[in-house]
Amino acid sequence: MLRIPIAERPQWQQKAEEFGFEFHTMYGEIYWDETAYYQFTLEQIEKGIEEPTEDIHQMCLAVVEKVVNDEALMRRFCLPEAQWDFIRQSWRNGDPSLYSRLDFAYSGNGDAKLYENNADTPTSVYETGFWQWLWLQDNVDTGKLPAHTDQFNCLQEKLVNRFKEIKYLTPDRILHFSCCKDTPEDRGTVQYLEDCANEAGINTDFVYIDDIGRDEHGNFSDMDDHVINSMFKLYPWEFMMQETFSESLGKNNIRWLEPPWKSILSNKALLPMLWKMFPNHPNLLPAFFEDELHLASGVDSMVKKPIFSREGSNISFIGKNADIEASSGPYGEEGFIYQATHMLPKFGDSYTLIGSWLVDNQAAGISIREDRNPITQDMSRFLPHVIV
């Protein structure tokens, strides 16, 4: 695994505009960075990332099966009791999932270590599935990279195929896409997924989360008063489950993407559960609940993560690495879990995190984020990669 500088494509910003990629630069900072790329061998991709990704996903499903059947665990995962049936029912019905992203620390040598599972609202899917694909295509076309250069990235192809399966499972339903207002990145992500669904032949519509309405029977509706019966929401379940309309969840006939059972996997309590159920697995880091820290003897440095958090917010180091500056943010009121410290590999000045995508239960590609700080956050730069 190497970090290799490369010239930017001339006028790529213009191309970004042509394709509607609007958030490549945000708040004056670069987000999409093509001044360098990462190079992997096929073995690093297949043995180092792809296999562990699919293994961990299966382990995660085993956690869901255990948690939905155990009230004490549902409570430990801070899931509101009023929503337990909603979550359980979606799992027992086998409600289909679309996608997830596992975040790994991986340097090209040794075992990739799981940081967390973005199972509910993963973003950077457009940059991964399409934009870095196009970057490779352009660089091969212009001879900057050799013709046989490949990339671990069949994300778009797999998403379209998955939407075809979902269409088969819920024929004739209009799939509503949704995200919050005033979030250009989320809106872009949702548009991309909507395009993939259209490609699969699904009829779609869009409504902002904030605009969802409710009728007297508890059905949700869009701005045209059409009843919603199938919805993709890029909005965390743990938010929705504590908001006013949550009282209608599970009582109206809606097929959700991601399904409610994903709230168990996007939850940091997953990490100590995985460690309990699969101790010493080579791709897991030791992780503990706050009241079970006595089990952590021998771990001299830990990372403290909120049960619910997004994009690296509210993370701090305790023990040996306590001098590393904590990240701030609005999360943490539900409590914390602790994960053994395993620093991200450093390439030059940059700490590098690998996001490994799953479509349903198949590994589908990777994305790479870089940051000058050891905690990557939502503004961390996105870099392309190749397989040689």
């Binding site: 042509e18 394709f19 958030f23 945000m26 708040y27 991709i45 973005n118 509910d120 609202t121 993963p122 973003t123 599935g129 694909w133 490949d150 990339q151 990235n153 069949c154 192809e157 004739d172 995200c179 919050c180 005033d182 979030t183 250009p184 990145e185 992500t189 395009d195 490609e199 009829n203 519509d205 902002y208 989360i209 904030d210 969802i212 309405g213 409710r214 009728d215 007297e216 029977h217 059905n219 509706s221 045209d224 008063d225 059409h226 009843v227 890029l234 909005y235 965390p236 938010f239 908001e243 006013t244 996007s266 994009e311 701030s328 943010g329 609005p330 999360y331 590609g365 939502d378 503004m379």
Partner: protein, 200 residues
């Protein structure tokens, strides 16, 4: 190969933002976007009654009765809804609106229903058709419940996108909005609104 074999770049290009089409309350006029639809159009006839259906299509009397009944059910389920008779009549004309039993809203009466070409043996819905009376460029046009413009009345047959023969989404009366999104807006004050979003 570990990457997507082919991506249709033309489909990935984003056209200039679509100009918002004119929307009379719940009724969205969708003809502009549908015109760009690549699927071939279907030929349909629009009939005003069971008798008209019997006389002018290849359907039998029994089939026409079934078609009418289905159109009626579709109209109740998916037809445009208005809070007052006046608003409804503004769009569909004097005395053209009714209040379904024990409901709190008004709906226009449909002026006919659509019979698809029997040669294509795909299943379709006998959707109701409405005549829009409000002034403007859609005056007197026929349209389906979701606002797809079919054309001027009086033609022997019409060419419509295949989607007009599919069931329309159920329309309801929304009594409240804003029941989702409060947690995000509470948290977004943190960081000076510099968050990119609520994904991760």
């Amino acid at each position: 190969m570990k990457r997507s074999q082919y991506i249709d770049l033309d489909k990935m290009r984003k056209a200039k933002p679509k100009t918002l089409s004119f929307r009379p309350l719940t009724l969205a006029i969708a003809s502009i976007t549908l015109a760009a639809c690549s699927q071939p159009d279907e030929e349909v006839k629009i009939v005003a009654s069971v008798d008209d259906c019997k006389a002018n299509t290849s359907l039998t009397l029994e089939q026409c009765e079934v078609a009418y009944k289905q159109a009626l059910e579709e109209a109740v389920r998916t037809g445009p809804r208005y809070g007052s008779q006046r608003q409804c009549e503004e769009d569909f004309g004097y005395d053209q609106c009714v209040r379904p039993q024990s409901s709190g809203f008004f709906m226009p009466m449909f002026t006919g229903f659509m019979i698809g070409n029997m040669l294509s043996n795909r299943s379709y819905t006998y959707n109701p058709v409405y005549q829009y009376r409000n002034s403007g460029s859609y005056r007197n046009r026929l349209m389906t419940a979701d606002g797809t413009v079919v054309g001027m009345p009086g033609k022997r047959s019409y060419h419509v996108p295949p989607s007009t023969l599919k069931p329309k989404p159920k329309v309801t009366r929304t009594v409240s909005r804003g029941g989702f999104g409060s947690v995000a807006s509470a948290k977004s004050s943190w960081g000076g609104g510099k968050s990119k979003g609520w994904g991760g």
